[in-house]
């Protein structure tokens, strides 16, 4: 046996030696595969890591138009969806130095991405920006995104996202049936969900309704709505809140969190929402179905197109109304979640052979012309013209033409790459019209839409949301020292879920136990550190 092991080791050593020689040899032919050159008439190839969402780059007319306009040629590295594995693939490609000119990264700037910067695999935008790129510069220098700079340089160019990207709607017909108004504070809210649950608001004679629905165990949207009538916060776990005295603490450690979950616990015991919520996984589509099925009375939405389409498919009328955030106990206005200002980033790896050209492309996509092309396609083909309906610019779309280039059943009548591609989501941010001051232009975002979506009472959903949307401390910050680690988040989520489902008399004991464990696991130091950083920020 011993001898055999020795042999094995010897063979292993030989194998390892052989394979590393092979690796070195293979490594030699790696150099010198640069793309096209800027000068001359040859189109410059841009190798772009991007989700394609069913678009065929060989035939897609929008892409062809972009390529002609800018004398470029796209070579797509198709990234399959925004999953965890996609992250792994991106990490492998970027960190092993695979040739890429541009990356659309649909995830946050975390420790891994900061490692890239540290290891020098990304280019800094400032090193290549010229006076030809005022739009990009305006975004990078925006006050809203100042937290993204690393030693004064930008490596991550955000794709802006409307502030008020998520709001709440409630069934008007149910409110009428139970004789109540849209709730304005927590007491009224409680009354409404109770009536929705027990007074048969859909009039089918059965006890089959809930006040609201929780679509994932964190309950960040449904629970968050309640929590924000106590304090402005996030509800994902590991989020910060600012207290009345100007200091910060983690939401979980605040008294408001305890009261929030005490209220939720009461709702749970009275069956006002789905008790099996712990087993739901991002059940947004399911929630829309439940609305149509007349089983729940309200939900959070990022848009109503999908929901209205489901109503239509079922042959039913939607009678919905906007539900503003609840007032706090002292009568002041509660808040809605803020998007943090962006979703996704453009990064340029150092393997990029022509950064200027990539910047030209990104710059163009932020102009009104570029934005229109990437949102609704080619004028005269995919849409006939535009008209103004009040504040809204309406694109009169040509559905048959759109059908030819993309799958409208899945992506609707806007270009699939209109968000999370070359461009941001929503309408048009008039940077040029506002002297390239992004912070001024951002709230003035022009609404763009298609005729189908008009007159639904939710045309201006995002504008209404934006009135209430508020960031919480360190939201979207990339400072890793103020991030709760996974262990803390686990304790928080598991603890609060347990407090909801276990007997009511144990609520405080459960909450205390969770808090104690959380503090001991590093929570106390985190709060201390957070306050130091917060004080520095306030001093600036």
């Amino acid at each position: 046996m011993m001898k055999a092991t020795k042999h094995l080791m010897r063979i292993l050593a030989a194998v390892l030696a052989a394979s590393s020689v092979a690796m070195l040899a293979a490594g030699c032919d790696d150099a010198g595969s640069g793309g096209g050159n800027a000068s001359g008439d040859e189109p410059v190839t841009i190798r772009w890591y991007q989700e394609l969402r069913g678009i065929d780059p060989d035939t897609d007319r929008v892409l062809k138009q972009i390529e002609e306009t800018l004398n470029i040629e796209f070579e797509f590295v198709a990234s399959p969806g925004g999953s965890e594995e996609q992250e792994q693939k991106l990490n492998l490609m970027v960190s092993t130095g695979e040739k890429l000119d541009l990356v659309t990264m649909l995830s946050g700037v975390d420790e891994l991405k900061l490692q890239w910067v540290e290891d020098g695999v990304l280019l800094a935008y400032e090193d290549y920006l010229t006076e030809n790129h005022p739009n990009i510069k305006s975004i990078l220098d925006a006050d809203l995104y100042k937290y993204l700079k690393i030693d004064g340089k930008s490596y991550f160019k955000p794709l802006p996202l409307e502030a008020g990207n998520r709001g709440y709607i409630i069934k008007q017909d149910w409110l009428d049936a139970v004789g109540l108004d849209v709730p304005t504070n927590l007491d009224e809210y409680y009354e409404v969900i109770k009536a929705f649950t027990y007074e048969d608001p859909d009039g089918n004679g059965e006890d089959d309704t809930y006040g609201f629905f929780v679509a994932e165990p964190y309950g960040s949207n449904a629970f968050g709505f309640i929590a924000r009538s106590f304090i402005n916060c996030g509800c994902w776990g590991g989020d910060w809140v600012e207290l009345a005295d100007g200091t910060v603490t983690q939401f979980v450690a605040s008294d408001e969190a305890r009261e929030t979950f005490r209220f939720i616990k009461k709702c749970y015991d009275e069956g006002l929402f789905n008790k099996s919520f712990v087993n739901e996984k991002d059940a947004e589509g399911k929630m829309e179905d439940l609305m149509v099925q007349q089983r729940i009375g309200m939900m959070d939405v990022t848009g109503v197109t999908g929901l209205l389409r489901r109503y239509e498919d079922a042959g039913m009328e939607a009678d919905l109304t906007y539900m503003p955030p609840l007032n706090k106990a002292d009568g002041s206005q509660g808040t809605l979640p803020h998007s943090g200002g962006s979703w996704g980033f453009h990064i340029i790896p150092k393997t990029c052979s022509n950064p200027e050209k990539v910047l030209d492309f990104l710059e163009w996509s932020l102009t009104e012309e570029g934005r229109a092309l990437t949102a609704y396609g080619i004028e005269g083909v995919h849409y006939t013209d535009t008209t103004m309906e009040g504040d809204i610019k309406v694109f009169n779309v040509n559905k048959e033409e759109m059908e030819k280039d993309w799958n409208t059943a899945d992506y609707g009548y806007s270009y699939p790459l209109s968000w999370g591609g070359p461009n941001y989501s929503g309408g048009y941010i008039p940077m040029k019209e506002n002297n390239y001051d992004f912070d001024v232009a951002y709230p003035k975002q022009e609404l763009w839409n298609i005729p189908d979506n008009l007159g639904t009472a939710f045309d201006d959903l995002k504008v209404r949301n934006a009135q209430y949307a508020q960031v919480f401390p360190f939201q979207a910050s990339i400072d890793q020292t103020v991030m709760a680690d996974q262990k803390l988040i686990d304790i928080e989520i598991q603890g609060r879920t347990k407090a909801i489902v276990e007997p009511a008399e144990n609520f405080d004991a459960n909450w205390d136990a969770m808090l104690e464990e959380w503090m001991a696991a590093g929570g106390a130091e985190l709060i201390e550190r957070g306050n130091e950083v917060w004080a520095e920020l306030q001093a600036e």
Partner: protein
């Protein structure tokens, strides 16, 4: 081992041995020819990247690569041994593995024998095909179907319970039920698939044996016991040994998709724990240390199972 023994012997004997070995190698030359592409594959695709295990001893960053990342010695292992959440996950993995061995392992064997005993050949075929289908549903889908079926308001279970005047509790996936749920759902999904190898082995039993036994007056139970089962013995042993070596790392997809925040105490396994730390915190080296630790345990289990099997039944995988 011929070569290993050679060294101990006196020179002239050693020469004779060497000649004998050379003759043997020559005799088996076609087999070495067969093995050449296989060995090449293992060298290139398994041992080529093997240097990656070094990352467990480094502060590894992918962009620096293995050769430029700093070494930190056993630091990650020290962290690991002090990490209570890791030990909780480890304990859960072991317990779940034991459950799997006890409850999941025999089911496909029993099922394949029972189905083999069905008289009507079309019933046998239909059942086999049906049993094999759930293997092709991913766990994401199975999990969502389970939630639908368990739904206390609208699910099938609620409907059945109503017939008996009972009520389904709001949540059936609890710390107490979670491990049982893992075993049951895995049996549902994989038992039919697991049968295949046993059915294949059964079908190669010499039909004459059955006839001879029949003539000798053996009944069906006796025939199964004395002919079918012994024919399966070697494949059962191999399956058991390989299972012993892989139980600790099986079932990520299943556990991850069925988990909820309430069941972590009993249901967080090593793989789900690693998943959370790596994807969210960029701790590649730490994950690789856990992986290495896991590998060592698995190898030990495999060797142990192999040794036991050799002692008890004279079956081993090599």
């Amino acid at each position: 081992m011929a070569t290993a023994k050679a060294g101990k012997l006196a020179p002239q004997k050693s020469n004779a041995k060497r000649a004998a070995l050379w003759r043997a190698i020559k005799k088996y030359k076609y087999f070495y020819l067969m093995l050449a592409p296989v060995l090449a594959w293992y060298i290139i695709f398994c041992y080529g990247p093997m240097y990656g295990v070094l990352t467990a001893f480094q502060d590894y960053s992918m962009s620096r690569g293995v050769f430029r990342s700093p070494f930190v010695g056993l630091e990650h292992f020290r962290t690991l041994f002090a990490d209570t959440l890791f030990w909780r996950a480890f304990r859960n993995s072991v317990i779940i593995a034991v459950y799997r061995v006890i409850f999941e392992f025999p089911i496909p064997i029993i099922l394949s024998i029972l189905i083999n005993e069905l008289r009507s050949s079309w019933v046998r075929k239909v059942t086999q095909t049906l049993l094999y289908l759930p293997h092709f549903l991913s766990w994401v889908i199975v999990a969502s179907i389970i939630v639908t079926f368990f739904n206390p308001d609208t699910g099938l279970l609620a409907a059945v319970a109503e017939l008996f005047g009972a009520e389904v509790p709001p949540n059936l996936i609890t710390p107490g039920s979670f491990r049982a749920l893992l075993v049951i759902t895995n049996i549902w999904k994989e038992a039919g698939w697991g049968m295949i190898i046993y059915l294949a082995s059964m079908s190669s039993v010499d039909a004459n044996l059955y006839e001879a036994a029949y003539v000798d007056g053996a009944n069906r139970f006796q025939r199964t016991w004395h002919i079918t089962l012994p024919a399966l013995r070697s494949v059962i042993a191999v399956q058991m040994i390989l299972l012993a070596g892989s139980v600790l790392r099986s079932g990520f997809d299943q556990v991850f998709n069925l988990q909820n925040p309430l069941v972590m105490e009993t249901g967080d396994i090593i793989d789900t724990y690693v998943y959370r730390t790596v994807t969210k915190e960029n701790e590649f080296s730490y994950a690789s240390a856990i992986g290495l630790f896991n590998s060592v345990i698995c190898t030990a289990l495999l060797l142990l199972a192999n040794m036991l099997s050799k002692k008890l039944s004279d079956e081993s995988i090599y």
